[in-house]
């Protein structure tokens, strides 16, 4: 299975580099580098120099294709990031930020409403807190709805002697 996958990835790779293939051969000829193989040690410095050397050539002779590729890469920045990356980034912000970023675009909205983002804002033991609470909590389909509910409805816990408020929630009240 893995072999097959690798093989497939290789094909995709070849497909994308195909249009540059003849050009590549030209550079390698010019610099007599059949392959840029860099030994460890100072590979990083050497590699960046080699790339610097190659890139000007590249932009002269293949400016169109290369520009398009760069543009495609930049335009799709967030779209290219899988949704779990976007979710991870959002989970490191605050509930108010996440609500505001919903307005960015529809793709961000779907990440911003996912349970994995809102699970971060709820206390990690929220399930046991809720089940031990005297106040009944309705079932919610999403953790965001639960979070919003808990912001407005503090729970009675510990046999009714304490009130559990959503710590972060105190600042966030929805109309």
């Amino acid at each position: 299975m893995i072999l097959f996958l690798l093989d497939f990835l290789n094909h995709v790779d070849f497909f994308f580099s195909f249009q540059n293939a003849s050009l590549r051969r030209k550079w390698y000829g010019a610099y007599s580098l059949r392959q840029i193989k860099i030994r460890c040690g100072y590979q990083v410095n050497v590699a960046s120099k080699v790339v610097d050397l190659l890139e000007p050539e590249n932009s002269n002779s293949n400016s169109n294709g290369e520009c398009q590729r760069t543009r495609r890469r930049i335009n799709n920045c967030l779209l290219m990031l899988p949704e779990d990356c976007a979710v991870k980034i959002l989970a490191f912000t605050t509930p108010l930020d996440v609500c505001r970023f919903t307005l960015v675009s529809k793709s961000v909205q779907s990440a911003a409403e996912s349970d994995s983002v809102w699970a971060n804002f709820l206390p990690s033991d929220y399930q046991s807190i809720i089940s031990a609470s005297l106040t009944p909590v309705p079932d919610f389909l999403s953790k965001k709805d639960l979070f919003v509910y808990l912001c407005r409805n503090p729970l009675l816990i510990d046999g009714g002697r304490k009130v559990k408020e959503n710590e972060i929630g105190n600042v966030i009240l929805f109309p």
């Binding site: 893995i2 690798l6 990835l9 290789n10 995709v12 790779d13 994308f16 580099s17 590549r24 392959q35 840029i36 193989k37 860099i38 030994r39 460890c40 590979q43 990083v44 590699a47 960046s48 080699v50 790339v51 890469r73 930049i74 335009n75 799709n76 920045c77 967030l78 779209l79 290219m80 990031l81 899988p82 779990d84 990356c85 991870k88 980034i89 959002l90 989970a91 490191f92 912000t93 605050t94 108010l96 930020d97 609500c99 505001r100 970023f101 919903t102 307005l103 960015v104 675009s105 529809k106 793709s107 961000v108 909205q109 966030i172 009240l173 929805f174 109309p175």
Partner: protein
């Protein structure tokens, strides 16, 4: 399997970037990436990375090498290195995040996501759109609806800067 044939000589791996550049690194450095580790366990020493471009790969190899030599004594040094590592443009950070995600390097992933999150906190949706190069795909009515539903999140002044 691989661990039983341990020899003095360091095992090397070759990583190939999406731009067809090849890098040779020590196996012990490479296996910090789950993706590479899985391939190594299956006996591969040549690892094509069709989703990782040379520019990002150079930085990531640098990171892996630094973190492979982690000891108690160079803790401060690594912290400084990490700080410099993430001190870059948003576009570079996005490229690094998608590479780190593909390679499954969780500590790097957390560090990058935390950095991006810290830098977009308190920004306006318009600024975030520009930073992420996203076009707004809401109709004005949908936009008004979201503003109304999350009214409190839109109170006050927000950071419009793009860095």
């Amino acid at each position: 399997m691989a661990s039983t044939t341990e020899t003095k000589q360091k095992k090397m791996l070759i990583l190939k970037s999406a731009d067809n550049d090849e890098f040779e690194i020590e196996e012990s450095v490479g296996v910090q990436s789950e993706t590479i580790k899985n391939l190594v366990e299956d006996g591969f020493t040549f690892v094509p990375l069709p989703n990782v471009y040379t520019k990002a790969l150079i930085k990531i190899i640098d990171y892996l090498k630094k973190h492979a030599n982690k000891t108690d004594s160079n803790d401060e040094e690594i912290k400084t290195f990490d700080k410099d590592f993430v001190n870059t443009t948003f576009d570079d950070l996005f490229e690094l995040v998608s590479a780190a995600n593909y390679l499954h390097i969780s500590c790097l992933m957390n560090m990058l996501c935390q950095t991006i999150a810290d830098r977009i906190k308190d920004k306006s949706p318009e600024a975030v759109r520009k930073i992420f190069h996203i076009n707004c795909d809401y109709t004005p009515e949908e936009e008004a609806k979201i503003r109304k539903a999350n009214a409190q999140a839109f109170e006050g002044q927000f950071d419009e800067s793009l860095d």
